[in-house]
Each structure stands twice: as structure tokens, then as C-alpha cells.
Symmetry: C2
Amino acid sequence: MKINVLFTPVIADDLYFTGKTTVVIDVLRASSTIVAALQNGAKEIVPVGTVEFAVKVSGGMFGGQTLLGGERNTKKIEGFALGNSPLEYGQEIVAGKSIILYTTNGTKAIVKAKFSSGLFICAFNNIAAVAKHLVFLDNDIEIQCAGRSNNFSMEDTICAGKLISEIEKINTELSLTDSAKASLALSKSFGRSIFKMLAETEHGKLLFENGFEDDIKYCSKLNSSEVVPYFAGNVIKLLPENGLSLMNEKENIAN
Amino acid sequence: MKINVLFTPVIADDLYFTGKTTVVIDVLRASSTIVAALQNGAKEIVPVGTVEFAVKVSGGMFGGQTLLGGERNTKKIEGFALGNSPLEYGQEIVAGKSIILYTTNGTKAIVKAKFSSGLFICAFNNIAAVAKHLVFLDNDIEIQCAGRSNNFSMEDTICAGKLISEIEKINTELSLTDSAKASLALSKSFGRSIFKMLAETEHGKLLFENGFEDDIKYCSKLNSSEVVPYFAGNVIKLLPENGLSLMNEKENIAN
């Protein structure tokens, strides 16, 4: 199994992903928010590349059961119901809803990788679950870091490194490109305290300044969720088998 | 002093560099070759972005005292006098000559950064000399890694990290972006044996397969040169003061 990491979306064009197995990571905060929303019973997430398209989509499609969510430069967009904080996506708000999501980096990176044959969303919160599924698929993997305005971001890279490390625990026959090796090494150098690392990144500092310390705490929780978000037909849903296993989990807890 | 590292030339456009102090790194092999050529008495290097322009420039300008050098995908270009191996750029070949240089990644990255107010070329061979000059200038720094076909390359990033580490020895008041911190950390993880690291990178493996093991050895020598290549007026020369100090060194050795 070969693994490559793309540090920013600007490296590859849309067609690069055709037929590939891709994982998109935007720790702060789109991928953490998507995991939270699906965990809390959202029907689906519709990632969009522009605010205009978000507004257009929210009008007619999905039978009115939609919520507009997202941010531009960390701030909630005027007229949107929700921002990009995973803490806003509680069960009472999102259960059964279709959420149209626009964010500065993350949803654009997802839309760019739309021609992938399998496209998954990963955050620190669901690394082990995503790793398990990727090992099951046994395909070569492209990890697309959303980055920041087409630049490198430390937190996405370290999340990529931790994902590789998790895959390596199960499949030791990995072939890693330079960028994958670098991600793995960086996750070892900086990954001991994820919260501390996040708080010291460029993006983490900006979120702190804007009062989102609780978001950083939330996004730093390793494997707090079993959700594997899967993009198909332009929407992100739970993997079918993932939905079943989560239901079983809930039943087990209920019993 | 703020330091940022651009892992590939595709992240920033030409105008991004306007008025900035920039260092271009292409360890395998353009920047190592440029250092070698200037060390061995070449009058100047003219980096070009296309093979066609290389041929055009070599015809009329620089009074006939020109040599065409370069490669496409590691191979010497038909009709060119020299390839892109620093070992080809010996004193007997290059002394007094203007060298028109085209390479797959390196010279394009240099040409892209042409609007910088100060543009320097760095390889493992001349890290300490470049670091000393940058500390003297005391400007914010952009380190542009040439990468490979717009992708991340481990060797350029680790060279960037070692350059930052060398600057940090003299100026401890550095402000590092995410990518600069990552480069520094990677240089600590992988930089103990530069030869071994180079041989295991994607580009290093390709050079090995093509018989360039001696080039990798040459490029791995840390601080074997005091040369600081400086780009101005579309050509790369020795810094004036660098030329003087190198002459003094030679005189000292002669005496």
C-alpha cells in the first residue's frame, strides 16, 4: 500500500484524484465539524466551494430540511444558521438535517477531490476508525491536507502522520513518499500533546484570539468518534456499514 | 526575523516575492551545481525557465564565452555542453565562463523569485556562509524549496531546516511559520547523516538508479564551500564581498 500526502490543495488538479482513494483532512475545523455533525445524527453534509453556491443549494434541494453552515476567515457568514465550530453541531440542532457547508479551506479541498473513487474525511477525532477502513480497502492512498490559503498547515500534516502511524500498526508493508515520511516524522516530533500543538500552530493561534479555545480542545480529542464520513453523489454521509456498527454500539449501550 | 518556507514553487506566484529576501534551495542538484560552478571560477550563471530560452540566450549574449548546461528528468539535454552534475563544473571547464543553466525544478524556482530584493542560492555545501549573510542582512526570509514537479521534496526541506538551525545559532529571536518549524524538526529527525537521507529520498533513489551516486556524495557535504550565490540583473554571481573574502582566503592559503 502506497501513501502520499499533499500538503496543500494547490499541488494537484481535480483530475489528479480520478479513481483514487483519498482522505481529506482539515482539523481546524471543517473535518472535525463534519465528524461531529454525522456523529450527532445529521442526515448528510453537502460541501460546497463557494458561498453563492451554498445559498443556491439551500433554497431548492433536499426538501427544506437544510441548514446553512460555514465560515469565512474563522467568522460565521451573515445569514447562515451555523458557523464552523463542531460544538454548534449538537444532536438537537442537526439530527435528520442536510447541512450545506462552506469553509475557507476544507470544503474546497473536498470538492476538489470529488473524482476520487473513494473519498473520506478525517480529523483527530476519528483517526482510528478511518485507518481501519483504509486497511480494509487496501488501496493506495492520497491524503489531501486542506492547509491554509494554499499554504502548509502543521495540524493537518500531523493528523496525516498520525493516520499513517495508525495504518502502520495494522499493515506494516507501507510504501511512503517523501511527504508521507515527513508527516509521520512530524507526528512523532509534535504529536505528544495534540492540544498544545494545535494551540501553537498559526491557525490555532488565530482561533484562540477569536475565542475558540473550546473548539481547539474538542478538535484535539484523539479517537473520540467511530464515524467514517464518506463522500458520494456530492454529499457526505456515514459509510453504510459504519452507520450499522454505530447503531449496534448505541444498542449495546442501551442494553 | 521571521522565516517562512515554501515547500513547492506552486504555492506562491512571481509577485509574491516582490521586495522580499529569498533563498532558493534545490539540493539535487541545481543549487549544488551553481555553488560548485561559482566556487570554480565561473563568471556567472544565467538561470532560465525553458530549454528554448537557454538556446536563444547562448547564441548572442555574453560575448560567446558561454556554456549550455542542464537537464531534463536527470538526463543531459541534447546539444548542451554540460549536464546538471556539480562534478562536471570543474575549474578547467567553467573558469571565466557564463553558464546558461536550465533544470527541471531549480532554475524555474529561481526565475520565479526574480522580483525578490535579495535572492540567494543555498545547498548543503554552503549553508553556513548563506546563514551568516542572512543574519547580517537581518530581513524576514522566504525559503523557496524547488521541490519535484511542484511536489514536496524531503532533501530541500531538510536543507531549509538546517539553514534555519544555522541562523538560530547566531540570532535566537526567530519567528517561525508552521512550515519553518516543520523544516527545522525534520532536519533534526533526518539530518544526522545527510548522505543516507539523500540516498533514501524519491529524487535520490532516481539519481542512484541513473548512476549519479558520486553526485549524491558531493551534494551531501555540509559547508564544503564559502560561496554565497546572489541573483541580480538576471544572472547569478558571487556576492561582491563574498568574492573578495574568497580571494583573501586563497591568498592566505598561497602565503
